[in-house]
């Protein structure tokens, strides 16, 4: 009975118990330690939810990579390993400065704390800067998301895209045009250019046949690329749309020419996953930077010390998580082969 009353002393009698308390102690907690532990618990649980959120993307990555290993091997070569590696180092370094900052706040070393927080923030800036350079290169070379990706192929909408055209990067501006329109206008307006237009049209028609069934006339398996209905494998053994392609017995690098038509359809998927993963991670870096800026401002006001360092500690945990996720992303995306 007495221990119950004791434990609720702060709860029950704020006027008596509240005066000599730590100013950071919220009214509904008994002790600073209880408050600190609550924050810590909540932060860990929150980090768990973050991991689960990325987990969905890792799942999508695993499924597509498992089903199209050669596509991933081919497409990942668009990514710049050097920049990725530098970014990894930048993040690890900033994680180190962050951990050091947490320690400084616990020891009440306010000046080093401010410097280390600033350094961590700069690490974030550096990371995002390098990321921007990488994204810009993707944009320039038409391997961005959505319609800014030359490998995208709208097969079911009757708008095929000649992904295997032999144009160089410089010519790709024209290639982004939907070929169905090219073809139609070629028929009407430029009969002189029949040969070239016909060729690209033929390729487009072929491509769209792969995805869309030839209506009213048998079925073309988009995965096997064969019109042979008997060859359609049981769906459960080999889910369509995710069917594992034939892995050619090559030992060198994967080239576009090594991919089958069905595999080429999934090159775009790699870029989508890449941009979703790194984009979501980038948003987390930005949030982390905002949080660091916020505790830097609080550190300027000398708020932290051996009795109160919870915010620094929690932001530190968050920043380590952001770092950790990148440490998984880097090899999964950049170091496939």
């Amino acid at each position: 009975m007495t221990d119950v009353a004791h434990s609720n002393a702060a709860v029950l009698a704020p006027d008596l118990a509240g005066h000599n308390h730590d100013p950071h102690l919220a009214h509904h907690f008994d002790t600073p330690d209880q408050q600190y532990q609550s924050g810590k618990l909540a932060m860990w649980v929150f980090l768990g939810t973050e991991i689960l959120m990325f987990g969905g993307l890792f799942c999508a990555y695993a499924v597509y990579r498992h089903n199209h290993p050669e596509v991933f091997e081919f497409a990942h070569r668009y990514l710049d390993r050097t920049l990725g590696a530098v970014n990894t180092l930048v993040l690890i370094a900033s994680s180190f400065t962050m951990a050091w900052a947490v320690r400084c706040s616990q020891l009440g070393l306010n000046k080093p704390l401010k410097i280390l927080l600033a350094l961590t923030f700069l690490g974030g800036v550096g990371f995002m800067g390098i990321k921007t350079i990488e994204y810009e290169a993707k944009w320039k070379h038409h391997v961005f998301v959505g319609s800014k990706n030359k490998y995208r192929n709208d097969s079911l909408k009757g708008v095929g895209k000649p992904v295997d055209s032999n144009t160089e990067f410089e010519e790709e501006g024209a290639e982004v045009e939907p070929p169905a329109e090219n073809k139609l206008s070629a028929h009407k307006t430029a009969p002189g250019a029949e040969g070239k237009a016909e060729a690209s049209h033929e390729a487009a028609a072929k491509r769209s046949d792969v995805g869309a069934t030839t209506w009213g006339r048998g079925i073309v398996d988009p995965n096997a690329g064969t019109p042979d209905e008997a060859a359609i494998r049981p769906t459960y053994a080999d889910p369509g749309g995710l069917a594992a392609g034939v892995v050619p017995g090559h030992h060198g690098e994967m080239h576009y020419a090594d991919l089958t038509d069905a595999q080429r359809q999934h090159v775009y998927t790699f870029f989508s996953i890449y941009f979703m993963m790194t984009g979501l991670h980038g948003v987390h870096v930005l949030v982390g930077m905002a949080l660091i800026a916020w505790i830097w401002l609080r550190a300027r006001r000398n708020e932290f010390g051996p009795t109160f360092f919870t915010p620094v500690d929690l932001v530190g945990l968050y920043w380590h998580l952001v770092d950790l996720i990148w440490i998984f992303l880097f090899p999964l995306l950049y170091l496939i082969h």
Binding site: D15, L41, T49, M53, R152, L280
Partner: protein, 594 residues
């Protein structure tokens, strides 16, 4: 405690411990002005604000339900209707059922019990002053409002387009079904899919943060003496719910993000036209949305456990089994999502495993029902309005659970899935059960919230009307569904007209009952008889504080914290009907339940 002999009334101020509350000072009138509500950190006020929002959402979803049932009164558009008007007729229905589902699922039934009762009674039951993170709690509420704003945009865009022909960006209304199945939602639907998914995304974060807050509160703010197995079962249920919210909602968040990106940019993860896999979307979606079903029903079960004890005047039967079954349902609930996809073409092996796990979830549910029955046995049962809802819950939940057996059995499910048998099944579980528990909880804690009692006779009448209306609405759908009536059909073959008209008729009856129940609550809040601190003779800690509670929840030491359902020593004054406790009430004694 001073040595008092003889009965002690509940909720008296204990000045000896410095409880410095003026008489009549409570959380409702502690501070005044709209700002003191909008910026409040008091969990009770936040709970009430949730209640206003969530009940508005319920009214809106109910309006859609009544409208769509009205459309289904006739089997189709009038004879000789032009193609355009027939399409408009079907589109209207499609928008109505989608909006009904989205509003009810995301805005009403997922947050209903945790956000209203969880917020209001969880700290009270713990004898705590507040949840662990009051600011985060307020943020959750505003996130809920933000999500609701997005849904309002969806609704208004539909109204603008159809009534005034004004196009808003993003599409109009919503016609995808609440499941947003790709590729229809990403490439074909006319509805405002992106605003709707972003709204659900934001609501997801509201849900995550609420769950986080409750977990931290239950872990850190339990008073000394309240071990895990001395927590009220409502807290076990809320804890299990919070686990699901924390573990499943992030997956929904990423899924909806991908869906919005698919719709806006065409990223090709789910759209088969771009090389994506629509079945993967279903896996992702149901990984959240099946556990979400338990987010809806678990806290409702917690409410029922409380009601059963208080109104049977008897200790809960099988406390440990009920508590453990909550956790078992929460964990098993994560492993059964594939049973929504038995006919989607996933492998028979996966189907077999998901089917087995689905049946495994049936066991803890059955355990709960039997334990509640055993709680009634040899009790002293008082059929107050909340208890009627609890008994109604048991009846409807039993039907909902038993019809689940049909759907868990693989071969039978092939025939029944995607028919209105499913619609009937999940309405029995989600609406019949959760709504009844919700209403029971409203009538149970209403005196605590507002300090006034509701009219018993009107409450009982409303219960009867709702019960009859509910069964008229949904029972015929079991039969029509197994006869082959698919769900989400705007038009239907003439042989189903009897079932559909019964359902529509029942929906009107149910709406009448709900309106009566709501008016009764409102009347009770404004004009009802003053409520004592413990109007029902409840044994959990929230009944020890005055009604309505003071700003800081407790002016006297709550406790002693022993067995939460020990009714020994809580006695009724036979003349006045007031409840008192004897000095030794609730003292920890030797017994099997802790």
């Amino acid at each position: 405690m001073s040595a008092i002999t003889g009965p002690i009334p509940f909720g008296v101020q204990d000045t000896a411990h410095g409880g410095g509350h003026a008489p009549g000072d409570n959380y409702l009138n502690h501070s005044r002005g709209i700002k003191s509500w909008l910026l409040t950190l008091d969990h009770k006020r936040i709970g009430l604000m949730y209640m206003i929002g969530i009940l508005s959402a319920f009214a809106l979803g109910g309006f859609f339900a009544i409208s769509l049932r009205t459309v289904l009164w006739n089997p189709g558009p009038a004879r000789g209707a032009s193609a355009a008007s027939a399409n408009a007729y079907m589109d209207l229905y499609n928008h109505l059922f989608t909006l009904h589902g989205v509003v009810m699922v995301f805005l009403f039934i997922i947050p209903a019990v945790p956000a209203i009762f969880g917020n209001f009674v969880l700290p009270l039951m713990l004898g705590a002053k507040d949840v662990a993170f009051p600011r985060l709690n307020l943020l959750s509420f505003y996130l809920w409002c933000g999500g609701a704003l997005f849904f309002s945009y969806v609704l208004l865009s539909g109204v603008m387009e159809s009534a005034f022909g004004i196009k808003w960006p993003g599409g109009f209304g919503l016609d995808t079904g609440w499941t947003f199945y790709t590729p229809y939602s990403t490439s074909k639907a006319a509805g405002a899919v992106v605003p709707a998914t972003l709204g659900a995304f934001i609501l997801g974060f509201s849900s995550i943060l609420t769950g986080l807050n409750f977990v931290a509160t239950i872990h850190m703010l339990r008073p000394k003496g309240m071990s895990w197995f001395r927590m009220p079962l409502m807290l076990w249920a809320l804890y299990a719910t919070s686990i699901i919210q924390i573990l499943a909602t992030p997956v929904l968040a990423i899924t909806l993000l991908l869906l919005a990106a698919e719709r806006a940019l065409g990223i090709g993860i789910f759209d088969p036209a771009l090389g994506g896999d629509p079945v993967m979307y279903q896996h992702f979606f149901w990984f959240y949305s099946h556990p979400a079903v338990y987010i809806m029903v678990l806290p409702a079960m917690g409410v029922i456990s409380e009601l059963m004890v208080t109104f049977s005047r008897k200790h809960i039967f099988g406390y440990n089994f009920i508590a453990a079954s909550s956790i078992a349902i929460a964990l098993l609930g994560f492993l059964v999502w594939g049973h929504h996809m038995f006919v989607s073409g996933q492998s028979p092996l996966a189907n077999a495993i998901f089917s087995l796990l689905t049946f495994a979830v049936a066991i803890p549910s059955a355990i709960k029902v039997f334990n509640w029955l055993a709680t009634l046995y040899k009790g002293d049962i008082r059929l107050k309005t909340p208890m009627l809802y609890a008994l109604g819950f048991v009846y409807l939940f039993t039907i909902g659970g038993l019809t689940g057996l049909f759907l868990g059995a693989l071969s039978v499910d092939v025939h029944l899935t995607n028919t209105i048998f499913i619609v009937a099944h999940f309405h029995y579980v989600m609406m019949g059960s959760t709504l009844f528990a919700f209403l029971g909880g409203m009538y149970y804690w209403w005196p605590k919230m507002f300090g006034r009692m509701c009219n018993e006779n009107w409450g009982r009448l409303a219960f009867l009307i709702i019960l009859v209306g509910f069964n008229l609405t949904f029972f015929p759908q079991f039969i029509a569904g197994s006869l082959g009536m698919p769900r989400r059909y705007a038009t239907y073959p003439i042989q189903f007209i009897g079932y559909h008209r019964s359902a529509t008729f029942g929906a009107y009856i149910m709406a009448t009952g709900l309106i009566i129940a709501g008016l009764n609550l409102l009347h009770g809040m404004l004009r009802g008889r003053k409520a004592p601190a413990n109007p029902w003779g409840g044994s959990t800690l929230e009944w020890q504080t005055p009604s309505p509670p003071p700003h800081d929840n407790f002016s006297t030491t709550p406790g002693p914290v022993g067995d939460p359902y020990d009714l020994h020593g809580i006695v009724e004054d036979k003349k006045t009907g007031e409840w008192y406790r004897l000095p030794d009430a609730g003292k920890p004694r030797t017994g099997p339940a802790h």
